[in-house]
Amino acid sequence: MAELDISLIEQVLSGDSEAFNRLVQNYSAYVYRTAFAFLHDKSEAEDASQEIFLKVYRSIHHLKDVHVFPAWFKKVITSVCLDRIKLKKLDIVPESQIESISSSLYNPRDIRIEIREALNMLSSEERELVLMVDWQGYNYQEIAAILKIPLGTVKSRIHAARLHLKKILSDET
């Protein structure tokens, strides 16, 4: 996440609407990338980004302390993405189609795109865990609380997810 600007959050809390626009400018890329990593769909990630900022806009005024903003903001992002994944599971799109389109568009030798494709081939539970720990920087305790699963399960599943990701990547090359 971009460096937190405490004074900007203070301005937002004081009701400065220009400050909220600046907040969107500073964090929209981070929010979109996180949403895309979770959802692996452009329009879905755009919708999720809008939803996240609307949620922030509606409830940022309830924050009592500016310093809790980063953790709170991260929670909003995670909960919107996880909720959308739950909904997505109900109507599954043919994923193979998406993969073939995107891999034909890019240079397949680009490791960064290969990893994104490999992430998409993980189960949604595995992907959630990898993103929460490696990208969002949650610790195991926080993940256990958010996903409501035991700490031991978090430990073993994160490790298994990484090994699975490593296997997908070594099978591709």
Binding site: S28, Y32, S49, Q50, F53, K155
Partner: protein, 166 residues
């Protein structure tokens, strides 16, 4: 520590989830086992590469503007809703107010008469007692006023008006 145990805990080690002694144990194993050390290095590189791959996700142009527009639409929607609620409340309450106006003036007049009577009897009572009693009565009433304003302020603070409107 054996290889099996070590391999199971590599992710915890990389995520700084192990205690200091557990860290020492696993590092000691890495010193003597190149297989586990390699796996650790590979997973570490994979985590770093995952971060970089997400960092490089292209952001669609105009995303920021879209988000700002959706927030402006929300703003207009809520202010419109607030006006509608206010008008609605006024419309509902106006016939009631009209009905009550005659009764209200009577009640106010009655209150005024009672108040004036109490005030007059208080003045005659106070002129009869000692000035020390009056002073302590004054202090007592100041304390009552301060505590009651404090309580009312707290009540108003806890009650959030915008939640009612939303």
């Amino acid at each position: 520590m054996g290889c099996q145990q070590c391999m199971e805990r590599i992710s915890e080690y990389l995520d700084h989830e192990l205690s200091t002694t557990e860290c020492h144990d696993i590092e000691a194993h890495f010193e003597e086992c190149s297989h586990c050390l390699n796996l650790k290095n590979e997973l570490n590189a994979l985590c770093e590469a995952t971060r970089l791959s997400i960092e490089s996700i292209p952001v669609p142009p105009g995303l920021t503007d879209k988000i700002i527009l959706s927030i402006q639409a929300e703003k207009q929607r809520t202010s419109k809703n607030q006006w509608l609620t206010a008008i609605f409340l006024l419309l509902i309450s106006s016939p009631l107010l009209l009905l009550l106006t005659r009764a209200f003036t009577r009640v106010f007049y009655l209150l005024y008469v009672i108040g004036a009577a109490i005030w007059r009897s208080l003045i005659t009572l106070l002129s009869a007692v000692s000035p020390w009693f009056i002073l302590s009565l004054g202090i007592f009433s100041v304390i009552v006023v301060i505590t009651s304003t404090f309580v009312i302020k707290k009540l108003i603070h806890d009650f959030q008006l915008n939640e009612v409107f939303q």
